[in-house]
Amino acid sequence: MKNYSKYMEKIDAMLAEEKGRKKPTASGLLAPSRLPKETKQKNDLDSQIANYISIIRKQKEDLLNENR
């Protein structure tokens, strides 16, 4: 895969974007947390790959923290 680095840049950007999203803090009946969640879940291949990679990285961090 010659364009691996470019693809990984894209995946990293997707992961950074997901990390940067702020969680809603408001409370009450109309608080964003009470509203129905996005029905359309991202299911394209890039999102799936990003999801797998984020899981692997999270597990790696956990293991590294355990070893320290």
């Binding site: 895969m1 010659k2 691996y4 990679i53 692997i56 990285r57 790696k60």
Partner: protein, 157 residues
Amino acid sequence: MKTADIALRAVPIPGMSLTKEPGNNPWEQPPMFVELPDVVKFYTEELTSDESVTGIIQALSNDISVLDLSNTLMKTGVMKGIHSIDVGMIAIPVIAEIIKTVGDLNNVGYITSTEEYEKATKVDEKMLMELLNESKEAVEEKLDEAPAKGLMARGKK
């Protein structure tokens, strides 16, 4: 028997693969997995076994790049009839990430891809000559500045 005869027997003859019954090889059969989650699960289990971890560490220590290793593993999977090549190509970033993780967890340095490594370690000849000349000049200057020592040295007036 001539040497040429022996050499001819060692290599396959064009069309030789067509003499066998089709469908006997694993890659000629329908693959075991066709979905990405199944392929990822398969590689996650395979690559985290003790034997595989040892193999990965050895390969990374011998300067085999992560991408080359991922490609080889994926193609072996295709050859064994585990998955099709298209799902394998999609799964390569995940396989590479698993290999990188194994390397990181075992404190083994790795090269991501051979091309990147060559690009990063390539030295421009012009720049190298400039650096050499600069260092040569600096050494010569230092030598000129240093006072002469020894019995025959001329003292300062």
